[in-house]
């Protein structure tokens, strides 16, 4: 691991995708900073192509100028049908040039090779760097979008865009764009080189090419469609296999091995069939284009040979031409594949740009906070909130909480408890009214400051697949001693469970490590926030899966750790909420009852009924046991 830097330099991708609607412009702008490497790659492409064409021309010149057949023997050879071996001679006056020609050829090969390498290296350098940057940006962007955005979007969808679509963009830079350039340049250079030999020959050399282009694009459209279908079959087969393996108990319990084999056979055969269909397309495509390119090649060669035997072209010209026409035609067969790939790349770009264009949540990291320390006085004044226009989830919320008080919220699902406390971290912005923290409107605090001082423990405890220690410490910036970690773990009543794992605090959580129970997860998440030691603590049903006794222990530990902290508790258990300084009972987004346990328990209403129900548990147990 390298030493963590203060921050990762971040290229503003958003600016690249928003300045223009044109996708090409966006894609080019994303390259910014590396564009010269890319230009270098393209230039290398040109130079490599020139090196190649130069090699062909040199051989031609070598044949023409250094080697001369003796005319008197040539006719005889033709008559005799013998080959011309031993009838050609080198011009004695130019014999000394031979080493030079050899070195020249070597030089041109070196030019071609080096520039081919540079082209590959620079294109890869650009593509990989740009994509590295994109990946980081998208990752960062996603974690800086609002709760609201993540509520709307599905994980799978976001994941696909940030992985396979990013990869499609990478291929666009690294492969497709360069390949397209290579085809264009090979074509132009060789075409121009042939033009220098003979203009009409050059035109004849490309006469059938449009047909090749059309066939190629047509086939690759079909092939890519078929390929998608094939991939679906493959996925179905995988699903069948996966279900069989994970359901092995059911298969064995019902003795359904044969049935499963038949099912697998069905999918296996379908995939086989689909694979064959895909194959047939390929089997048709390659010979067909072989024929078309062959036809073009022969047309060119026949004309060139006639021109050569008529003396319009030299023999050396013909030899050069024979080399160049191949370089002109063959890359064209890739055109169809390229066109299809590029159009897919553009679609991916769109999907990616859609995420990037979303507005980030401004955390105000550099904005000074109006206070340096939070005392913890909270006042709600006529607060209203709605996720969607005109469907308020909180109406007219009014209450006051003094520093160090504990406020409990009780109410059914959807009554607005979670929304109410979430407003405190400004994860959502309240619509009307005011929330005052220490007398200052919450909106005047930068979010970054608020989130540092407001700690939320959510009901669905989310742990990362890291060690337990890392899970506890990931909320704090400074290095933490083991004693501190153990202290919070003890307060959250999870220390003993952690120590029962063979690796203790170094135990990995999740798929590759231990599976924690719901209650254990909740307590690790609680320890995490306790270590952060926020001025304002919010426990959103954070101990619902923890038993009553442990919960009481946690409550005492919390008080011992910091009794000046303002705490909000959401819970269903009366034993959890009864010790609060103030209890708010919510129903359908309104506060319907407010007071202490003693006040509310004597008041007809939701609180009293809840209390009565829970108080009955012990009675019922006694009765149950008496019945035996």
């Amino acid at each position: 691991m390298t030493t963590p830097t203060a921050s990762i330099p971040m290229y503003d991708l958003k600016q690249a995708v928003t300045t223009s609607k044109a996708r090409v412009v966006g894609l080019l702008k994303m390259m910014s900073g590396y564009q010269w490497f890319y230009v270098g790659a393209i230039l290398s492409l040109v130079l490599a192509a020139i090196g190649r064409a130069g090699g062909f021309l040199l051989i031609g010149w070598f044949v023409d100028d250094l080697l001369r057949p003796l005319p008197q023997f040539t006719d005889m050879t033709a008559l005799a049908g013998l080959n011309a071996q031993s009838f050609t001679f080198i011009r004695p006056d130019l014999a000394s040039l031979i080493p030079l020609v050899a070195l020249g050829y070597l030089f041109l090969a070196l030019v071609e090779g080096s520039f081919n390498f540079l082209r590959g290296r620079w294109a890869a350098y650009t593509a990989e760097n740009v994509v590295w940057r994109i990946k980081n940006y998208v990752y960062d962007h996603l974690q800086r979008l609002t709760f609201g955005y993540h509520d709307r979007m599905q994980t799978g969808e976001l994941l696909q865009r940030s992985t396979s679509d990013v990869d499609a963009v990478r291929r666009f830079y690294a492969e497709e764009l360069v390949e397209l350039g290579r085809i264009a340049i090979l074509f132009s250079v060789n075409f121009i080189a042939i033009m220098t030999l003979n203009v009409s020959l050059a035109l004849i050399s490309v006469v059938i090419l449009p047909l090749l282009a059309i066939v190629s694009v047509y086939f690759f459209r079909k092939i890519s469609k078929k390929y998608e279908e094939f991939q679906e079959r493959e996925a179905e087969l995988s699903t069948t296999l996966q279900e069989n393996l994970s359901g092995v108990r059911v298969v064995k319990a019902f003795a359904r091995q044969q049935y499963e084999e038949d099912k697998f056979e069905k999918h296996n055969a379908a995939r086989y069939k689909s694979g064959r269909q895909l194959l047939r397309l390929h089997a048709a495509y390659w010979p067909l284009t072989d024929l078309i390119t062959g036809a073009q090649l022969i047309t060119g060669l026949v004309i060139a040979a006639i021109l050569a035997s008529d003396g319009v072209l030299t023999v050396g010209d013909y030899i050069s031409y024979a080399g160049m026409i191949g370089a002109l035609i063959n890359p064209m067969r890739q055109l169809g594949r390229l066109v299809v790939a590029i159009s897919q790349g553009l679609v991916s770009y769109d999907r990616l740009a859609e995420i990037v264009r979303e507005t980030r949540e401004e955390l105000g990291e550099n904005v000074p906070a109006p206070v340096t320390e939070i005392r913890g006085e909270v006042v709600f004044e006529n607060v209203m909130f709605e996720y969607d226009k005109d469907t308020p989830v909180l109406h007219n919320i009014n209450f006051t909480c003094k520093p160090g008080e504990t406020i409990a919220l009780l109410g059914s699902t959807g009554s607005g408890k979670t929304t109410l406390v979430t407003l405190l971290g400004r994860f959502y912005e309240y619509t009307t009214g005011r929330i005052l923290l220490d007398g200052i409107d919450l909106k005047q605090y930068p979010k970054s400051f608020l989130r540092k001082n407001v700690g939320v423990v959510q009901q669905e405890a989310f742990l990362f697949s890291r060690t337990i220690r890392e899970n506890i410490t990931l909320g704090v910036d400074h290095t933490v001693t083991d004693e501190e970690v153990i202290a919070v773990a003890k307060a959250a009543a999870i220390h003993d469970s952690i120590m029962s794992f063979p690796e203790g605090y170094k135990t990995l959580v999740g798929e590759r490590g231990v599976t924690l129970s719901g209650g254990q997860k909740q307590r690790v998440a609680l320890a995490r926030i306790l270590l952060k030691n926020p001025a304002l603590l919010i426990l959103d049903d954070a101990t619902s899966a923890v038993d009553t006794e442990t919960e009481a222990h946690i409550r005492n530990a919390l008080r011992e750790m910091n009794d000046k902290r303002t705490t909000f508790i959401i819970a269903h258990r009366i034993t959890t909420v009864m010790h609060a300084d103030k209890i708010l009972v919510l129903d359908k987004g309104r506060i319907v009852q407010m007071g202490t346990h003693e006040e509310l328990v004597n008041q007809p209403g939701i609180y009293q009924r809840t209390y009565e129900m829970q108080a009955r548990i012990e009675d019922e147990l006694e009765k149950e046991l008496a019945n035996v």
Binding site: V63, T88, I319
Partner: protein, 623 residues
């Protein structure tokens, strides 16, 4: 799948095992005609390609320089004909080779799948599903690629080099020797490159899956990330991953970019020596056309060399794949029918565990000297802490595992003397986390008895209490489950698997109750379905709910691999032992869960208050 431990994939093998290669080749043995077909066609293709150079030489020397127009025309006609033939042969080898590839994959997958069906639980316990999946999907395709396209490429390469050598020898033997000297060096370099490129690609693939994992975690955990303000640090850590990926991907890319030029350079050196030596020799040894042909042959040989190097790298990978595949295929099933196993015709009757010993790992016994006799039709509830042997007992009963010591007797006959099928087909099982297959609800229930009619399926669903919720779904019994279908709750899934078990009409019924909370209505339905099942059938229930436990004929408290307490509910409560603690605890929890549910949903009235208390209580009026 785990990156660590015994399932770390060794993607390359440094030594290519002869036996493995022979066994790989055996995969295509039934299709030797296809292999022969594509090898012959690719060889002809290669020879035709080589002959083009010779033809070009003739065109130059005899047609153009010789000035024979008729000959020129006939030479070009030949050229065209050969191209036509070439195209036909290309078609033939693509079809043969491609079909063979599909076929080999099809065969191997079938073989592996079949073998996996015979393997025992113990194998699946220690082998992750992901590991098995990769064997069937990616390894089979690597192996088939090697025996088809790999073999094709090598055949082409060998024929190509041989014919080129032959033609070159006919032109000039001294120069041919020069080329021969260069060739092995070329091949060595090419192999060096290809292996390194593949390794880098593998590394970047691994990195990529880590990146996907990190992204997935960050998206699903975004609420925590924001709440603890971890954005900056997360990004730094993510940058480590993307940076690593950058390095290996970039290295793979530039190595690939270097590969071709390096090979080209070496061949260019060969060409230059030809020009140099050939140029000096021309007066007495070589024609212009033959020099051109010679150069063309050398350039041509670059491709076969490249192909051979690539196939070599692929082969290293494919052999490693094959070793894993064969290891899977060679794993014997632990539990198989004994010779002379006889089907007793029924499992109804007394079940007896006699001094049964069992362990998964030799030094950690799970069951010790376990004895139990169950009368026909009795319902046994197994309770006790997780990991103390409850599941092991039912797994042994099903003979998913066999006792390491002692015996399990069914109607007095050791069940090891019965065929597996006789046992499995007569036992019905409902698992804690019910497994459904993708497909319709009807198909999932029919899994219990494949020839059941739609009426029978509905009857079973009604008995299981699943019918009512099924018909509320848009497509009823035709509704798809799983991805792309409805998301069923754990309770609903249990109802479906109950229906499935009822349809199978087993002689012994085994149920592992769900621990996760199920809504009150569904729970009542499940209870009703279980009652139907247990009625008159020997039943074992790993019980979590009190209602189930209370109804059992006998309750077994399983602790430390043995029976800690045994008896009826009333007997055990009076004992005031483990069961008493377990029961009172569970009782409180269940009530609390029930009340919490009521409070959460705001349906206070759904909680039924016992009659005697309801009178004494003053019910506050609703709000």
């Amino acid at each position: 799948m785990s990156d660590e431990g015994q399932f770390e994939e060794q993607e390359f093998t440094s030594k290519i095992n002869r036996g493995t290669v022979i066994r790989i080749l055996a995969q295509v043995k039934p299709y030797w005609r296809w292999v022969l077909g594509f090898m012959v066609s690719i060889s002809i293709v290669s020879i035709i390609e080589a002959s083009f150079n010779l033809l070009s030489m003739q065109i130059i020397d005899e047609g153009i320089i010789g000035g024979d127009r008729d000959l020129l025309v006939s030479l070009f006609i030949q050229y065209g004909l050969r191209m036509g033939l070439l195209a036909c042969l290309v078609y033939v080898f693509i079809i043969l080779c491609g079909q063979l590839g599909e076929r080999v994959q099809y065969d191997m997958r079938k073989k592996m799948f079949h073998h996996m069906q015979t393997l025992s639980f113990s194998y699946f316990d220690r082998t992750p599903v992901g590991w098995l999946m990769s064997r069937v999907t990616s390894d089979s395709s690597r192996i088939s690629d090697l025996v088809t396209w790999g073999m094709l490429d090598v055949t082409w390469a060998i024929v190509n080099i041989t014919t080129a050598m032959f033609f070159m020898l006919t032109i000039n033997w001294q120069l041919t020797l020069v080329v021969m000297a260069v060739l092995p060096i070329l091949l060595r370099i090419a192999m060096w490159f290809q292996v390194r490129i593949l390794v880098q690609f593998r590394d970047s693939r691994k990195m990529n899956s880590k990146i996907t994992g990190a992204l997935n975690e960050n998206i699903t955990g975004v609420r925590v990330v924001k709440a603890v303000r971890r954005e900056e640090k997360n990004l730094q850590e993510f940058n480590e991953l993307t940076g690593g990926m950058y390095r290996s991907a970039f290295k793979a890319a530039w190595l690939s970019a270097l590969f071709l030029p390096a090979v080209q350079m070496i061949s260019a050196i060969a060409v230059v020596s030809v020009i140099w030596i050939g140029g000096l020799q021309v007066p007495n040894a070589m024609s212009i056309g033959s020099i051109q042909a010679f150069v063309a042959y050398i350039v041509f040989m670059m491709w076969p060399v490249q192909d051979m190097a690539r196939v070599y790298a692929q082969m290293q990978q494919a052999v490693a794949s094959a070793e894993r595949v064969f290891a899977l295929l060679d794993t014997p099933a632990d539990i198989v029918d004994r010779p002379n196993a006889t089907d007793p015709g029924t499992l109804r009757g007394e079940i007896k565990f006699e001094n049964v010993e069992f362990y998964y790992e030799a030094d950690k016994p799970v069951l010790k000297n376990f004895n139990l006799t169950v009368r026909a039709g009795e319902t046994i509830a197994l309770v006790g802490p997780t990991g103390h042997g409850k599941s092991t007992i039912v797994n042994l009963l099903c003979r998913f595992y066999e006792p390491r010591g002692g015996q399990v007797l069914i109607n007095g006959q050791d069940y090891l003397d019965m065929p597996l099928h006789a046992i499995h087909s007569r036992i019905g099982m409902v698992l804690q986390t019910p497994h459904l297959f993708s497909g319709s609800i009807r198909e999932n229930i029919r899994y219990g008895r494949l020839n059941a009619t739609d009426e029978e399926i509905e009857t079973a669903s009604k008995l299981a209490g699943a019918h009512d919720f099924i018909i509320t779904l848009d497509k009823g019994y035709e509704e798809q489950v799983g991805e792309g279908g409805v998301l069923l709750s754990v309770g609903q899934k249990q109802l479906l698997s109950l229906a499935r078990a009822i349809l199978a009409d087993p002689e012994i019924f085994i149920m592992d109750e769900a621990t996760s909370s199920v809504d009150t209505l569904t729970e009542a339905l499940i209870q009703q379905g279980m009652d139907t099942m247990m009625n008159g059938r020997t039943s074992f229930v790993i019980a979590h709910r009190l209602s189930t436990i209370r109804k059992a004929d006998r309750i077994l408290v399983i602790e430390n691999g043995g029976i800690a307490e045994m008896g009826s509910h009333a007997e055990l409560i009076r004992q005031k032992g483990h069961y008493y603690d377990l029961y009172t605890n569970q009782f409180k929890q269940e009530l609390e869960a029930k009340y919490t549910k009521a409070i959460e949903t705001g349906e206070y009235d759904a909680v039924v208050i016992p009659a005697d208390e309801a009178e004494a209580e003053e019910q506050p009026s609703g709000d």
